[in-house]
Amino acid sequence: MATLGDLERTVMDLLWAAPEAMTANVLRDSIAHTPAGTPAGRELAVTTVLTVLSRLEKKGLVERERDSRPHRYRATTSRADHTAELMHDVLVTAPDREAVLARFIGNVSETEAQTLRKLLGG
């Protein structure tokens, strides 16, 4: 059985790849063609897709077009923008950052970059 997290991921992948907004029904049919879509050969219920969509909406990843029935959904920003944002979080020095995640190399200042070049250049 695919977990809710897997479904969120599949839905986002579809929305990021889609040129325009999609309804939950269309999404359900598209999910059926992905590996996560047919858990034990059963069809996914539209309500499950709607649950996933409202979770994603709460996280600010998905927005809903309310002017048509049924509502159509699309991704708020592109995958690349989200990735850039996440990596920005990683690369920028914030309070307690080093306690949240441990980077292989912290940010290097110009002085330090010079010292490193000197150490390794010789």
């Binding site: 991921r9 990596m87 307690d96 980077r103 292989f104 940010n107 200042s109």
Partner: protein, 322 residues
């Protein structure tokens, strides 16, 4: 009992100021980072205990010869609704200060934990959507980003090591192995718990030199410990090259690819702000000219001193001293 409080106060001052300054200037921690890590923990814990203990013991001193009888007397005073004058205003003040400091430390520890966990949770959530597992190993994921980035996100069974496309392109196979072992050493040795405790210690009493210096030292020591773990599988040169490539790619001079290839950076490279300058240079220096570890006797000496620092405050609290 009053002498115990003076002794605890003296210990608290030493552990808050001269001791951490001396240790932060010493060169031997780079030779035996694990031993140094133990000593820093003792300085922090012993320092906190003696700070609280000194005020507690001094506040209770008029009430009895040892902590237990004095506490019993205090409970009796509070229980029978007598005025605080029985104890004296200054002593009441000391007791309140001890209680406040103790609560402040515990609350800061808990708040820091909640804050860190929340950030990790949010990060992991986005990571699940944006990254891909490598070779069916769910604990190693790749994210599509041009900067050479490697980091680990602790979270028990859900801990992940994250590598960027940019890193995979720049590093050779053995350099990549060095990075992976380094990051997994952070996870296996539970370094995030140390960072949590010392981050809380620093935000609880940021104005004391000890919390700043300890935080910085612990940050540096865990990198050395993880480097040492990597050195069990790869040689110094490989690890050093990996550090150099990643540092060059993330620093302000990022556009200069150390391999002479094209730029591996995206346009959105954030400014490099660095809290602790030269930490990476020190790491490289240590790999360039490896120093022998402290002798067993020296390590034993440091460990005994650490044990004493931890044992003295509780002993002084409980011993009847007059």
């Amino acid at each position: 009992m009053i002498w115990a409080s003076y002794f605890l106060a003296a210990l608290a001052v030493i552990l808050a100021w001269p001791a951490p300054i001396a240790l932060s200037r010493a060169r031997w921690p780079a030779r035996s980072p694990f031993t140094a890590m133990i000593l820093w923990q003792s300085i922090a814990l012993g320092g906190g205990l003696s700070m609280i203990g000194a005020m507690l013991v001094w506040g209770l001193a008029p009430l009895g010869d040892d902590l237990i009888s004095a506490t019993a007397a205090l409970v009796q005073i509070v229980g029978s609704g007598q005025s605080a004058d029985t104890l004296g205003v200054i002593h009441v003040f000391a007791l309140s200060a001890a209680a406040l400091l103790g609560m402040h430390l515990v609350f800061t520890l808990m708040l820091t934990f909640v804050r860190i966990e929340r950030q990790r949770h949010r990060h992991r959530d986005m990571l699940n959507l944006l990254s891909f597992p490598v070779d069916g190993n769910p604990s190693t994921r790749v994210i599509n980003h041009p900067s050479p980035v490697a980091y680990c996100l602790p979270g028990g069974a859900r801990s992940v090591t994250v590598l960027s496309d940019g890193l995979l392109q720049l590093l050779t196979r053995s350099e990549l192995e060095a990075v992976l072992i380094h990051e997994r050493a952070h996870l296996n040795q539970r370094h995030h718990l140390l960072l949590w405790a010392f981050a809380a210690w620093r935000s609880a009493i940021p104005w004391l030199p000890t919390s700043q210096l300890a935080h910085r030292a612990v940050n540096e020591l865990i990198e050395m410990l993880a480097d040492d773990e990597a050195l069990k599988s790869v040689d110094e040169t490989t690890l050093m090259r990996a550090i150099a490539v990643v540092a060059a790619g993330t620093g302000p001079q990022g556009a200069t690819d150390p391999r002479g290839g094209s730029s591996a950076l995206g346009p959105s490279q954030p400014e490099a702000i660095q809290e602790y300058p030269l930490a990476t240079a020190q790491r490289v220096q240590r790999l360039l000219t490896p120093q022998p570890a402290l002798s067993l006797a020296q390590q034993g000496g440091v460990l005994s001193a650490s044990a004493l620092l931890l044992a003295i405050p509780p002993l002084l609290l409980l011993m009847p001293l007059r």
